[in-house]
Symmetry: C2
């Protein structure tokens, strides 16, 4: 059964702008022409689009990287559409029954409820609660029954599932694929059928699963959802993806001052990337800021705008101003003096010079043991970075070294 | 979880005989040593073994080929064990949801019930009703639910399922395999878990599915079932497998006389095969019959014993005696006289001679039109076979030709 051929709606200038906003920063929007029609129809009928985000109810601790998709959903909400915050409790209740993945124990109803609540409390810092529907997929997965599961499985072929990169790789390498793993994308796709989703969002790595939903909807006689994938956000270092394990992240519940300082520490190039993916400013505004930077405005000021926007979102405008003020004070206080002692030290045969020897020889510590104590107490910075490792060796080069608040030296090692 | 190491029971001479009977005619018995232990334990504890036969509740019309597995089950019943006649109603209710297989529409509860009843009424001509349990797998498949289905799927890998010949072939040839097809062997295997089956029987082509049950039982902490496969029975021609479409079958509801005559028509070699697969006589008895045949007993008499056994089973001992008497009368009545006119006729340039010309030239019909009428009325036999085709040409050779009850000639065409 195929849906009736849809009526075609005109795409106005306003809709083109909305489309451009939705597309901003995204990795792929499939199929754009279909989505334009959905937007236009929604505009004409007053019926908001249903924008799905599926989530595992694992213990959440959201960082800025997770908010990239949430931001996109917020933009859709601001355009008048509804977000469906879908908690995948059904599969979480099962866990990994093969016992292969010990990282995925079954969760109880209470744990799922608690995790989902915590997740949503954090997500609500980005999302508009009024335009968000929270749903649990056990609502339709349980009544499906064993028979429904078989009927669902009949809608998809093995070959299509093996097109998913990770399955294909494991199959090629003869790594075992337990049969239930192949059922999970179908369950996830069926969620889109049950929700009559218009568009589903996810990370780039979710593209395959989102497309399953699209295909299943077609099988069930529905208009297929569009699929919008967002790239993974680079962390503070501007290279690796933001992740807790890499330490290059900003947790959205971090104190305002830390959050502000971390945003201020990113490179100018990364700042523009974050404007696209993290900021909720309009595209026109961002274009204007870029022009100002080209015309000589200090990028630091533009970074302050981003830092304040982010702190305002996760704390408040007042906290943001406070954080800015504190940051400026610390910056002034922590700024290197214009003049300081300059020394040249000889590296050892092994290459470079140990930090303890550097501190002593530069007269920044009266003895090696005092130097070690300073390091241990966190009082030593090299080029503005705190150093605690007494085994650190500085290679040939020039370094600004600070001990405590007042002792400074510019040391060149040869 | 693995079952506790089983106690080992001694295998007596009596058990060895039982094992030999079970093994008779079978294709494979896996694993024989395990089955010997099951037999021995059952003997020691008085607990009958649970012998499973799974059936699709499709419209049944059982022929002798279908009874090969039933016979083996009957032998197990005669050894004191329980047969579980398992109706696969759960999957029959679903049908083929992919719609690819139009031969498999979903059946209603009523249709399934009716088919199962008809099937069992026929099977009960072989099985001992007292030792037969009829079960429907919807009993445990429905309560399994979608979650149970996923847990079940987690117990098996894709690679193991693709070892099944037909799946492997289709996968290799890029023929689509719908995902539900891969779930069906798991459902069937789960039946063995639910039933705590000790041994499952099936045709040779079922071996893979039966082994899935064995493996799943192990996963669910049960002692794995043994697997006994029976070969497909050759039909009346002794070459092709018995099947309705090939016309080489004996339906178990056929009249006694037809059944008797059909058994009498098989070759001596096929007769011994049928003794192994169709007869319920003990192995000692069959061995004795073979010895008698070697010592010169007419194989026809031994075939009569088989025919009477089969007719007795599906009708009654009285019907069997009646059928034998009628068969002998017909045989005598239809037998060619010791003496008859002998003629030699010249074949035509085209090769051989048309049957109408033969009848006329041999004096068996006064005219061509009379010969044609005889043919049309079914009154003409060549070498005992009725001939109705007036276009038939007889090539060079000698033929016994009969018209009506009394006109005979031995005709040689040169």
């Amino acid at each position: 059964m195929q849906p009736e051929p849809a009526k075609t709606y005109p795409i106005t200038r306003e809709l083109e702008d909305a489309l451009a906003l939705v597309r901003r920063g995204c990795d792929e929007l499939l199929i754009e022409a279909e989505f334009a029609q959905k937007l236009a129809r929604s505009r004409a009928t007053g019926q908001p689009l249903r924008c799905k985000l599926g989530l595992d109810p694992t213990a959440p601790d959201i960082h800025l990287g997770h908010t990239v998709v949430l931001n996109k959903l917020r933009q859709l909400q601001d355009l008048g559409h509804t977000v469906i915050f879908l908690i995948g409790d059904f599969t979480a209740l099962i866990g990994d029954p093969s016992g292969r993945n010990t990282m995925r124990p079954p969760l109880s109803h209470e744990e799922i409820e608690a995790n989902a609540k915590t997740y949503f409390e954090q997500a609500a810092l980005v999302l508009d609660r009024e335009r968000t529907e929270i749903r649990y997929n056990s609502e339709w997965a349980e009544p499906l029954g064993a028979a429904g599961m078989i009927k669902l499985a009949a809608r998809y072929t093995l070959a299509r599932l093996l097109e998913r990169d990770d399955f294909a790789k494991r199959f090629r390498e003869n790594s075992p694929i337990a049969m239930h793993e192949l059922l999970y994308p179908l369950m996830q796709g069926y969620d889109s059928v049950a929700l009559r989703s218009d568009i589903e969002l996810g990370g780039t790595d979710q593209k395959f699963n989102l497309l399953v939903g699209r295909e299943l909807q077609r099988h069930y006689g529905q208009e297929p959802q569009c699929v919008l994938t967002m790239p993974l956000l680079e962390g503070l270092d501007g290279v690796e993806k933001m992740s807790k394990s890499k330490g290059n992240y900003i947790g959205i519940t971090e104190p305002a001052a830390e959050m502000f300082g971390k945003v201020m520490s990113i490179s100018d190039a990364l700042m523009w990337r974050w404007y696209d993916l993290v900021s909720l400013r309009g595209s026109d505004e961002i274009t204007a800021l870029k022009r100002e930077a080209q015309e000589g405005r200090n990028p630091r000021d533009i970074k302050v705008l981003l830092a304040k926007e982010i702190v305002t979102r996760f704390h408040s405008a007042r906290s943001a101003s406070e954080a800015e003020r504190e940051f400026n004070e610390r910056f002034r206080a922590g700024a290197a003096p214009d003049e300081m002692p300059e020394l040249t030290l000889a590296g050892e045969a092994a290459g470079g010079l140990g930090i303890v020897a550097v501190l002593k020889q530069a007269g920044l510590a009266p003895s090696s043991s005092e130097a070690v104590r300073n390091l241990e107490q966190g009082g030593v910075k090299v080029d503005g970075e705190r150093v605690a490792d007494r085994a650190l060796r500085l290679g040939a080069g020039t370094y600004v070294i600070q001990v405590g608040k007042r002792k400074w030296a510019r040391v060149t090692i040869v």
